[in-house]
């Protein structure tokens, strides 16, 4: 076997665009790390520790995105009865294990000192986390990803020694070995037993395969497959009562699907239960990631809980834009699905009435929830006696989120989402700005007074303007497009 070819295999298993994106991001990360090292150079800095953390992070990301592709290749080689390729793909994984775990550990040991065994265990753990995220069923992937976040609290709670302390290897080495044993057993099943990865057990690696190879638009049946694979109790139950020609808005909400479609009361209760479970899970992770009992007390106190809830609400409100936007994009990108049905459905009235009903059905549910979140934030902020500028920053974020809902919705429905990369970049900028504002305004993170000065205000104002002006233009283009269209159900 040619080692060069073995090193290239996982890259060859990726399609061109993701390969370029991953390679570009990796190069950018390396350049940024070097620049950061040069700019913040101090002789007393613990370089070995920082380098180790960076390498662990690199291993997590590398194994989750690129190196796990060899597993996919091995699986397909097995299905296509190509034993040599299957062996090569497995050998490629082993070679990368040496290249990303053993080799850096020895190099680090040689260059800056420390224990090679500790470094090897940490790197192997990082690689295992990355691989587990890609290859295990998604329910397990989620838990695995949260392990590093919760590790501080867990280590504290269970009195386990950390990486620099004696006794670390005694628990970390067997733990990491166990993780890799489980992974090895699971990977073997993934390669050889197709039935083991069907339905809910399908790992992220397989779920993302179509998207990576064929792009988002090409995977037209993605949503249908997702709905089909969802457990019965997680599936929203449609409520047909009140739908019909006399009720175009409710009828359109049903036809557009997603979380905002009319649902039976039982279904609403189930969905609310899921949201509460997510909230409790987030709080649990925060508790686990805290390292001292005083942190627990602070989080569980009335003001700490209020601040936590405030931050949670402030970040969740704008998140709704993503689900809203994705739902509309799916509808307007598939010419064989709901659009022809709606375009030829009688009883929805003339073009102007249909447009009004559609805007109502598509935007009002999301805007309604965002408005409730905004009100809750305002009340909570008053209760917590937040400063005026903090409250303004929080409310500005929520209003911007509502603006994003309107602009993205109209851009999709009006056929103005013609440059998806630019529009998506705008939405990401908006989300980052909103969250930066939330972080600055939240009492949870009140230890950065320098960021409240006039310079910070000017920078923030410029950034907000660079986001709001293009957002307004996008929304206006969408609105004009929607008005110009002879009917609103034309695919993009």
């Amino acid at each position: 076997m040619n080692p060069g070819r073995l090193l290239m295999l996982p890259w060859m298993a990726l399609s061109t665009m993701p390969r370029r994106v991953v390679a570009g991001l990796a190069c950018a990360a390396v350049v940024l790390a070097v620049v950061a090292c040069v700019l913040s150079f101090r002789p007393e800095t613990a370089w070995a520790l920082h380098a180790m953390h960076a390498l662990v992070l690199f291993d997590i990301l590398g194994w989750a995105t690129v190196l796990s592709q060899s597993l996919l290749l091995a699986r397909e080689a097995h299905q296509l009865r190509l034993p040599r390729l299957e062996r090569e793909a497995c050998a490629s994984l082993c070679l990368y294990a040496v290249a990303t775990v053993a080799l850096p550990a020895l190099l680090l040991n040689g260059l800056v000192g420390g224990t090679a065994a500790t470094a090897m265990v940490e790197l192997a753990f990082g690689a295992g986390i990355g691989m587990a995220y890609a290859a295990l069923p998604p329910q397990w992937s989620l838990l695995i990803v949260l392990v590093p976040m919760a590790s501080t609290g867990l280590a504290h709670g269970l009195a386990l020694p950390g990486p620099g302390h004696r006794g670390f290897l005694a628990w970390a080495a067997p733990g990491t070995a166990a993780l890799w044993l489980v992974l090895g057993w699971h990977c073997r099943r993934l390669i050889r037993d197709e039935r083991a990865t069907r339905g809910n057990r399908m790992p992220l690696l397989l779920r993302l395969r179509s998207a990576l190879w064929y792009g988002r638009g090409g995977d037209g049946g993605g949503e249908t497959r997702l709905v089909g694979q969802r457990s019965r109790w997680m599936q929203p139950g449609a409520d047909l009562r009140g739908c019909g020609p006399g009720h175009p808005v409710r009828s359109l909400r049903l036809a557009l699907g997603g979380w905002s479609m009319p649902q039976t009361p039982a279904s609403r209760v189930r969905q609310a239960g899921l949201a509460v479970a997510a909230l409790l899970f987030g709080a649990l992770i925060l508790l686990l990631s805290s390292s001292s009992p005083t942190d627990y007390a602070s989080i569980l106190s009335a003001s700490g809980g209020g601040a936590l809830l405030l931050f949670y609400l402030a970040t969740t409100g704008p998140l709704l834009v993503i689900t809203h936007m994705k739902t509309l994009q799916r509808r307007w990108n598939r010419p064989n699905a709901e659009l022809p049905l709606l375009a030829l459905l009688p009883g929805l009235g003339d073009a102007a009435r249909r447009r009004r009903a559609l805007l109502d059905a598509a935007l009002r549910p999301t805007l309604g929830v965002q408005a409730v979140v905004l009100l809750a934030i305002a009340l909570l902020a008053v209760h917590l006696r937040l400063a005026g500028h903090d409250l303004a920053l929080l409310l500005l974020g929520q209003l911007a989120g509502m603006g994003m809902t309107c602009a993205s919705g109209m851009a999709v429905m009006g056929g103005a989402w013609t440059q998806p990369w630019r529009a998506t970049a705008l939405m990401i900028l908006g989300y980052l700005l909103i969250n930066a504002g939330n972080t600055l305004a939240s009492p949870l993170f009140d230890d950065h007074p320098g960021l409240h000065g006039p310079a910070a205000t000017v920078v923030l104002a410029v950034l907000w303007a660079s986001f709001l002006v293009p957002l307004l233009r996008l929304g206006l283009r969408g609105w004009r497009g929607l008005r110009r269209r002879p009917h609103p159900f034309l695919a993009n």
Binding site: G221, P245, N336, A337, P340, A343, L344, P346, P486
Partner: protein
């Protein structure tokens, strides 16, 4: 005044008509000035190779996309601004239907049935049973063939006057395909439903279509009755020594390695073949529908 009224009445009587339709995607021309009209009660099979523009033509004729040029009318109304009345008389089944995957088959039929004034709920229920489709299963969990059948039931239950099917048999097994064709023939024969369906399964066309239209590279190359093809079109083979002679107008022409020439020719309105067919050494072969399709599309 009377002539104008007659003209308007005539336009209104035509269930589906396209005039000079042109369309393209990303700089590639898909339709090139297509003219097509369906007479009431006719069953027109639209045939063509993959990528010939069949689905685009159907979508443009129904107002599901804005063509770059030309216009389409449904029951005399502009396709892009149809009234509720025209929509209630029309049913369309797209290729690989994917709509409303989050509903069960029963919910989908119940929901859509509320919008159609002549909805036949008993037919929908009966046919679901006959085609062995579990009514309470989510559409997302049905196989592609089952989903296509649910969509066909949806289309037929609305009792349309115009039925447009885009590759309706693509995902169906032979039994389901035959049942569908029987249903289409029955609707056309008994209720006078006008049907337009696209396919590349030639035997389906021969079974139900009264007319065929051949779309090739965005152009409508020929349109005639299914039974007429054998009498109207033939393959004219000219040996190498004759191939330099004046060649008649043809639907397709292919030169072989030995220099001989194969042409698909059409007889004139008096049933006469081009003069080249009577040259010594020339050969004229009658073409079945499938042979005609292959000769033109190859």
């Amino acid at each position: 005044m009377n002539a104008m009224l007659d003209d308007t009445m005539q336009t209104r009587a035509v269930p589906l008509a396209a005039h000079g339709l042109s369309h393209g995607y990303e700089g590639r021309q898909v339709l090139r000035g297509v003219d097509l009209a369906l007479a009431p009660g006719s069953v027109l099979g639209l045939i063509g190779r993959n990528g010939a523009g069949k689905s685009t033509l159907i979508r443009a004729m129904l107002g599901l996309l804005e063509p770059l040029a030309g216009s389409a009318r449904v029951f005399g109304e502009p396709a892009l601004t149809l009234s509720d009345d025209a929509k209630a008389r029309l049913a369309y089944v797209p290729q690989q239907p994917e709509a409303l995957a989050w509903l069960t088959a029963r919910q989908m039929l119940d929901y859509l049935g509320r919008f159609y004034p002549r909805w036949d709920a008993a037919f929908a229920q009966r046919t679901l049973q006959r085609w062995k489709i579990a009514p309470d299963t989510l559409l997302a969990r049905l196989s592609p063939g089952e989903r296509q059948r649910v969509d066909l039931i949806r289309a037929l239950a609305s009792q349309p006057e115009l039925l447009v099917l885009d590759e309706p048999a693509a995902a169906l097994d032979p039994v389901a395909r035959r049942e569908l064709l029987r249903e289409v023939a029955l609707r056309a024969g008994e209720s006078g439903t006008t049907v337009l369906f696209s396919t590349h399964i030639v035997s389906d066309l021969e079974r139900v279509a009264s007319e065929i239209a051949f779309l090739h590279e965005g152009r409508l190359l020929l349109r005639c009755g299914v039974d007429e093809t054998k009498e109207r079109y033939a393959r004219l083979w000219l040996p190498a020594r004759l191939s330099a002679a004046e060649v008649p107008a043809s639907l397709s022409r292919r030169r072989h390695e030995d220099g001989s020439l194969s042409l698909v020719v059409e007889c004139d309105t008096h049933g006469r073949w081009p003069e080249a067919a009577s040259l010594p050494g020339a050969r004229l072969d009658a073409l079945g529908l499938e042979d005609l399709f292959v000769e033109i599309a190859e």
